[in-house]
Assembly symmetry: C2
Homo-oligomer: 124 residues x 2
DNA sequence: CCTTTGCGCAACTGCGTGGTTGCACTATAC
DNA sequence: GTATAGTGCAACCACGCAGTTGCGCAAAGG
């Protein structure tokens, strides 16, 4: 999972982590692990681990104030993940459109020149 | 993890699964597990398991033709996940905007959306 | 008929990880 | 000073999962 995309997806796959991220997102000046742990049915240590995952994937960052460590949300780091999904989904929809227009045109011989080089659309 | 959002995120967290999804996405009429397994350095069984995960989360569907089972991509099922991210990211940016205007408008050249995680805005 | 090919099921292993407990350390409060 | 949170580190356990191997079975193709 050294790949950053996998990291983001994996981080967001855990409901607890999404919950913490939301909690963090609601506090403009962040929160400490112990604060967050009070609102959640797990140990502070567990919360810390989750926060470390978020930090490691860039979804959160830390800032020290005296002896306490405040965590801040950085949801923008998840944008590439959202883009990945969106690319596939829209590509699929484009293909669907092409297909339906093709069927509607009911003329296999006047098929439009495929997209790009190397990938002709052999509808089989 | 019975929650569907977690399922989608978890499914996409695996590079192999994303790879298979892309491979599937490239074939308009789907592909069988054995076909996909030929292009990938793992067993057919492993591919089948991955495909089952994709089906279970709605990211793919199956269709039987005779004795073979073709898998089709359904990337649109991941849209809710993308939306989840996008909501948080944009909310965070709104908050940032509010903050910067509050601090004093002399700021940042750009707070525009759509950049990678590598260049965090100058939150100071 | 028999052979081949592809699918499905089950068991097993290795590893990552969510969660816990316990303890040591350090900065604040009294 | 002492007491009191708050943080960090480490060991440990349970569970899930990616991946493998092995086998059985059904559908095509001779």
């Amino acid at each position: 999972m050294s790949d950053t995309l996998s990291g983001v997806f994996a981080a967001l796959a855990d409901p607890m982590r999404r919950r913490l991220l939301d909690d963090l997102d609601a506090r403009p000046d962040g929160a400490t692990a112990t604060e967050l742990a009070r609102a959640v049915p797990v140990t502070r240590q567990a919360v810390v681990k989750h926060l470390q995952v978020l930090v490691r994937t860039g979804l959160a960052e830390t800032r020290r104030h005296g002896r306490e460590v405040r965590y801040l949300a950085r949801p923008a780091s998840a944008r590439p993940a959202a883009s990945w999904i969106e690319e596939r989904a829209s590509a699929w929809e484009r293909r669907l459109d092409r297909l339906t227009t093709l069927v509607g045109a009911r003329a296999p011989d006047e098929v439009a020149p495929g997209r790009g080089p190397g990938s002709p659309p052999p509808v089989r």
